[in-house]
């Protein structure tokens, strides 16, 4: 695999915890790889699975979903809903032929800047190992009407 592959990642963060954890990582000058680009939502419950599909469709190689720890959601329990959607989403991805590992859910409270940075670092490496998401390539493959058994 191409050694210089730099994955592009989208991270969805929750306004109350993980976005603040990212802020805290900043103010405490904790370092992590620059591959991730963060989107702020009010809560992980706001995460519409189509946001994730959109990110993957637009060229992201992986999507990190973050939210408050179970039981700590600012809106009481919405992160449990995010958790359910996450499992559903991974299955959907699999059926679309995308490795479910490209989407990952981690919890980070507002005080866990270090932990979030670590999670980002880990995820970056995981996607680096997985290689680029070649959604289009796969689509092209299909449109060329390759015999079914040739499709990976």
């Amino acid at each position: 695999m191409n050694k210089t592959f730099e994955p592009v990642l989208i991270g969805f963060t929750c306004n109350w915890c993980s976005y603040r954890a990212a802020d805290l990582a900043g103010t405490s000058r904790t370092k992590y790889p620059p591959n991730i680009r963060l989107v702020r939502l009010m809560c992980s419950g706001r995460l519409d699975p189509t946001f994730v599909l959109k990110a993957l469709a637009e060229g992201a190689d992986g999507v990190l979903i973050t939210g408050c720890h179970p039981g700590e959601c600012h809106y009481l329990e919405q992160n449990y809903k995010a958790l359910r959607r996450y499992h559903l989403l991974r299955r959907t991805l699999q059926s679309l032929g995308i490795e479910p590992e490209r989407v990952k859910l981690v919890w980070a409270s507002a005080s866990e800047g270090l932990q979030l940075a670590e999670a980002i670092r880990e995820f970056t490496e995981e996607i680096r190992t997985l290689g680029p998401l070649r959604w289009n390539a796969q689509a092209e493959l299909r449109s060329e009407e390759v015999p079914l058994e040739a499709v990976p």
């Binding site: 592009v8 790889p33 809560c43 700590e72």
Partner: protein
């Protein structure tokens, strides 16, 4: 309505250097030039960079462009929105542009401060700017929600911080509920004898405040009570309080104390007397308790345990004892809440080599406070566990459980001063030889170092070094029958064994064991160590991230009495500001249903934890009550018909931001 199509966007992009905070790791000029050139097609009319965008000159730059270039959307690439979103929104408002048409994107916390490769950080910053530009096109002008503020306030915790808070608000003429879980207000301060650095008598300065709080016409004191439920938000919280049964009718009780006198059951008092003394099964924690009404401790009361006794009832001259009394729940409406729930002390049993609980004459600091208190179990006599022998030599160990990665990694702030206070009291009252063992001497703040100098001049022995072990195993002559403190004296550079009669452990301050549950109940967060998190560590130390909920005193972190009082007053000032304004603005982030698109599937109906979603059976559509909606967006994400939109975080805004963030790789 799609804002981007209603008026053609004229966007201004402002990239901040933040002195060198951003500029050292992001090529600001390159980001600016890229935005101006590449994002032209997205409506960017002008892109500028400036040393400090948040300065008045930086803000004026934006305002001038709004006026002269007719900008209708602004993107500032600088620090976190949690720091300066308000600043830039207000700047736009002043130039006549709705503040919600301004996006602040972070290239400092999320780029320059966390990356080490300037080229990569610069590229990422461009993408962050593109995300902001794409998103801002879909921003809509919004008006902050105005919420009326209920004039009543709830203060939770009646230690010195909570008492101060309640008094400040009550004195300003507004009603306060002060909820305390113990039978009396006073908190830890009520347990002390003297307070550093002035050595004022704690009771002398605290009792008048307790009495004021107890008698104040604007304060409803609810002791032996706890909050069980919190609903609502800034301006209008509904709080359910459980008043535990006292088994004493407050209206009848005169506080004469005969019941306590007659009660045959003695109970070890592990709360107020820190396990050093006894109370009765019907008791007030201490003589100056406020309120004066006793409580029956049902776990130990002979009547409750064995079914007979009733001595208190027989002797009570007013018939105030009621064994049938039950817990009561009341729900009150308040506009703001202040948490002042304080701390607990570190349990030194966790450091077995210090021998607490095993070696009789090892005491905790709280035990020593009670022992040195004239109203305490020994009448103020400093004596060994046998209750009579005066110690000839006393060791005081600082930092027990603090500044130690195995226990609490932080400094408990007050222990050095408190240990010096103990040294002074021991010297003064017993003339014993005193050894203080410290790691670093921390005596910052007014009058503190002077107190340290004074204690030094009194002939206290200060040994710098962390105590390794406290043992009764004598090895050398002179050690028999003593406690031996084993320490590496880091100034003398050698191991020492110092035999003493008594050891006092200055145990650290910790969050209360239920601090986390309490935080969850009120919807605020805790730091990694468990202290309540303030909105901003420097600039907003008594507010929390939850509007309308404030914190004061040691629940926010270890602190001394003066700082607790100052925070209590500060929190009160913030609440009074809210009350006097009459209404406050809140972020207008709310969900709403487009009835025409709602299919009536009811998928969203069960998703709202705030009961904001209701279903109209007649019209078969769902409606969201904006007064109850908190804007989490869960229903927005769930609606299969796309009928629910969320202001501030609409699908269009998020989708557009994703496109922008992936500008370089979009396929």
């Amino acid at each position: 309505m799609n804002a981007a199509t209603s008026d053609s966007p004229r966007i201004g992009v402002y990239v901040c250097h933040c002195g060198s905070n951003i500029a050292h790791m992001v090529d600001v000029e390159e980001v600016r030039a890229w935005a101006e050139e590449t994002l032209k097609g997205e409506g960017v009319v002008v892109a500028r960079d400036y040393k400090f965008m948040c300065s008045s000159l930086g803000q004026e730059l934006i305002q001038k462009d709004i006026r002269e270039l007719g900008l209708n959307r602004i993107v500032v690439a600088a620090c976190s929105p949690h720091l300066h979103e308000k600043t830039f929104r207000a700047a736009c408002e002043k130039a006549g542009l709705n503040g919600y048409l301004c996006e602040l994107v972070s290239i400092r916390e999320h780029a320059s401060w966390v990356h080490t490769d300037k080229a990569a950080a610069t590229e990422k910053s461009k993408m962050i700017v593109a995300g902001g530009v794409k998103r801002v096109r879909y921003d809509e002008p919004l008006d902050p929600l105005r919420v009326p503020i209920h004039k009543r306030t709830l203060v939770v915790g009646g230690g010195i911080a909570g008492i101060q808070t309640a008094l400040e608000i009550a004195n300003a003429g507004y009603p306060v509920y002060l909820v305390e879980r113990e039978a009396s207000i006073g908190g830890h301060m009520a347990q002390f004898d003297k307070t550093f650095p002035t050595l004022d008598c704690a009771a002398c300065i605290l009792t008048p405040k307790m009495v004021d709080a107890g008698e104040h016409p604007n304060i409803t004191l609810l002791t032996w009570s706890e909050v069980t439920r919190v609903e609502g938000s800034l301006g209008n919280f509904q709080v359910t309080i459980r008043k535990k049964a006292r088994h004493v009718v407050e209206d009848l009780c005169t506080g004469c104390g005969i019941c306590t006198e007659k009660c045959p059951k003695k109970v070890l008092d592990t709360v107020f007397e820190a396990g050093l003394g006894y109370r009765k099964a019907i008791y007030t924690p201490f003589p100056q308790s406020v309120p004066k009404y006793p409580v029956i401790d049902v776990e130990n009361c002979t009547y409750f345990v064995k079914g007979k006794c009733k001595a208190c009832q027989i002797f009570c001259p007013t018939g105030a004892i009621d064994f049938e009394q039950e817990d009561e729940e009341t729900t009150v409406e308040v506009g703001n809440i202040i948490l002042a729930t304080g701390f607990q002390t570190f349990d030194p049993r966790r450091i077995p080599q210090y021998g607490y609980g095993r070696l009789a004459n090892v005491f905790t600091s709280l035990e020593f406070e009670r022992m040195s208190n004239a109203a305490g179990p020994t009448g103020g006599e400093i004596v060994l566990r046998d209750g009579k022998t005066k110690p000839q030599s006393v060791a005081i160990v600082h930092c027990v459980g603090s500044r130690d990665r195995r226990y609490n990694n932080y400094c408990s702030v007050i222990c050095c001063m408190q240990s010096l206070k103990f040294a002074h009291l021991v010297k003064e009252r017993t003339g014993a030889e005193v050894y203080n063992f410290y790691i670093d001497m921390r005596t910052a703040y007014k009058g503190y170092d002077e107190f340290y100098q004074r204690v030094l001049s009194e002939g206290v022995n200060l040994v710098r070094g962390k105590v390794a072990e406290i043992t009764d195993a004598a090895r050398l002559p002179g050690e028999e029958g003593k406690l031996i403190v084993q320490v590496e004296d880091t100034l003398a550079g050698r191991q020492r064994r110092i035999p003493v009669d008594m050891v006092i452990l200055s145990v650290g301050l910790e969050p209360r064991k239920d601090a986390y549950e309490t935080a969850k109940l009120f919807g605020i967060s805790c730091s990694a160590n468990g202290w309540y998190t303030e909105k901003h560590p420097k600039l907003d130390p008594v507010a929390t991230m939850t509007e309308g909920i404030f914190i004061a005193g040691a629940c926010q972190g270890p602190k001394d009495i003066p700082t607790s009082v100052a925070q209590g007053a500060a929190a009160a000032a913030r609440v009074l500001g809210h009350i006097q304004a009459g209404e406050m603005s809140m972020e207008p982030i709310r969900a709403s249903v487009d009835e025409a698109r709602c299919s009536g599937c009811r998928i969203c109906n069960g998703l709202c934890p705030f009961n904001a979603i209701s279903f109209h059976d007649d019209r078969r559509v769902t409606e969201i009550n904006p007064a109850l909606c908190q804007g989490c967006g869960t229903c927005v994400a769930a609606c299969p018909a796309g009928a629910i939109s969320g202001t501030g975080f609409s699908d269009a805004q998020v989708m557009a931001q994703i496109e922008g963030l992936l500008w370089d790789v979009r396929v």
